[in-house]
């Protein structure tokens, strides 16, 4: 059994790459039952009135398999609901990801400044967010494209957080959904939704349990569930089979190496 413990890491990487490539070349569907968090997320957006204002705190810097498909799928449903969306980024690298997402969700058909606005990167992290929700135009006088926000139709009736109907905290780091919950949703008692990476999800369960966030997309799996609900299989669904297979292989390797370890230990009478 010692060979299992001595498997080269290069071999593991090679196996993982092959496992990821095969389902990408020969895709196959996987049945994914819809969970309660994703269903709540869908229902909250579904219950929005037309022209509801959504403040979307979005942190996505690459076309990854989690935050990016979450963004595209959410925007598709928000577009169907005719919601007005204001994008806000904590990280400078998120501005480009935001644009890719709303382009893919078909937002270029809508009217910029009336149906959506991309404020872009807002420096200053949490302290600025606390000021922003009290005076949006004052803190962000120009949008991502250097257009003055004061003259935009959206900001003629949206001035503070009180004019916002829904807050979405999305991203995989700090500051991010945690800051939206602490500084905006809890103090101003706003309706909140959450979209995070799998890695971030374990730290967010408390907010779901407390009812701060009413629904959530937790990792790629959460997004696959949500794509099923909106009836548009997107990037998360497309990339789910490789994730699933790679995960099974990793679990298999972990179990095998642990069995080998305990077997060796039992042979030596419990001494390492």
């Amino acid at each position: 059994m010692s060979f299992i413990e001595n498997i080269s890491r290069r071999f593991v990487f090679a196996v993982l790459i092959v496992i990821v490539v095969i389902p990408l070349l020969f895709p196959f569907p996987l049945p994914v039952p819809v969970g309660q968090h994703a269903r709540n997320y869908y229902n909250v957006i579904k219950s929005l009135e037309p022209r509801s204002v959504v403040l979307y705190g979005l942190e996505v810097s690459t076309r990854d398999a989690e935050n990016y498909p979450q963004e595209v799928a959410t925007l598709r449903q928000l577009k169907e609901q005719k919601a007005v969306v204001i994008f806000y980024n904590f990280f400078q690298t998120s501005s480009m990801g935001t644009i890719w997402g709303y382009e893919d969700a078909g937002y270029l058909e809508l009217k910029y400044g009336t149906d959506y606005v991309h404020l872009g990167f807002v420096p200053g992290e949490e302290a600025t967010l606390a000021s922003f929700v009290l005076d949006m135009v004052g803190v962000k006088p120009v949008d991502h494209f250097q257009n003055p926000t004061t003259t935009m139709p959206i900001f003629q009736y949206v001035h503070t957080i009180n004019d916002v109907d829904l807050v979405i905290g999305s991203g995989g780091g700090m500051p991010g959904p945690n800051s939206w919950a602490k500084l905006v949703i809890i103090p101003y008692n706003k309706l909140g939704l959450l979209a995070v990476t799998a890695g971030q999800s374990t730290t967010m369960y408390d907010y779901l349990r407390m009812g701060v966030y009413k629904g959530a997309l937790l990792g790629q799996r959460g997004c696959v569930e949500y794509e099923t609900l909106i009836g548009q299989a997107g990037r998360a669904t497309q990339l789910f089979a490789p994730l699933y297979l790679a995960h099974i292989v990793l679990i298999g390797l972990m179990v095998a190496t642990n069995v080998a370890f305990w077997y060796r230990l039992s042979k030596k009478g419990g001494k390492q």
Partner: protein, 223 residues
């Protein structure tokens, strides 16, 4: 495929991705080059964005008559005194303002969001299902582990060890979920490689395989 600026950019991205992946075999010069390009690009972008933000939120507003904003701009400039041994002490003032403002803004929300609301949710939820019971017991055990005013021996020791194991269990769950995220990153990158610029990917991969074969067999044989 037509050679356009967009294609060249995607091809460069593919080459850099393969260069970064080559680290999985061994650290090498191509990997280091890609790493330095990434760090350099990010630093340049960060610097540019910082200058842009100071101009937008500070200088432009001061020039348009909002003279009070001279104070934060001056405080910002004072931060640079930390590069001088003689005037290092001056940098403490802007730093104190930054820390004070951040603490003031977030203190209430930290307490409300991280402590009060969580306690409320735990204490007020009825213990009528397994999930609620697990959360309640885990809360008590974990708090016990971080209570150092009593000795962790005997029954208390067993209880606090249980609390410690729960903390480790939670770290394990977080690490496992992080692995899922990282596999997702790899998947999306591999998908990029095989769909966006398959021709460049094939060439780069063949070069990579040739290098691996050279390192593993030919070079070893020579030495």
């Amino acid at each position: 495929m037509e050679f356009t600026a967009a294609y060249a950019s995607m091809a460069l991205s593919t080459l850099l991705t393969v260069a970064i992946f080559s680290f999985l075999f061994r650290e090498n010069r191509v990997f280091r080059l890609a790493e330095h390009i990434m760090i350099g690009t990010f630093t340049g972008h960060t610097l540019l964005m910082a200058i842009k933000n100071i101009r937008e939120t500070g200088i432009d507003k001061v020039l348009s008559g909002n003279t009070i904003l001279i104070i934060p701009l001056l405080l910002g400039i004072l931060l640079f005194t930390r590069y001088s041994r003689k005037y290092l002490w001056i940098a403490r003032y802007p730093l104190a303002v930054i820390i004070g403002v951040t603490a003031g803004v977030t203190a209430r929300s930290e307490f409300q969001g991280q402590i009060w609301r969580q306690l409320q949710a735990t204490v007020s939820s009825p213990l009528n299902n397994l999930n609620a019971i697990v959360i309640f017991v885990a809360l008590l055990a974990t708090i016990s582990y971080f209570t150092f005013t009593i000795k962790h021996t005997g029954v208390v020791g067993g209880w606090t060890r249980f609390g410690k194991n729960l903390v480790l269990f939670s770290f394990g769950a977080t690490a496992a979920m992080e692995v899922l995220t990282r596999i997702g990153e790899v998947t999306s990158r591999v998908e990029w490689l095989i769909t966006k610029t398959p021709d460049v990917t094939v060439i780069a991969t063949l070069v990579f395989i040739a290098w691996v074969v050279y390192e593993l067999y030919i070079k070893n044989k020579k030495s």
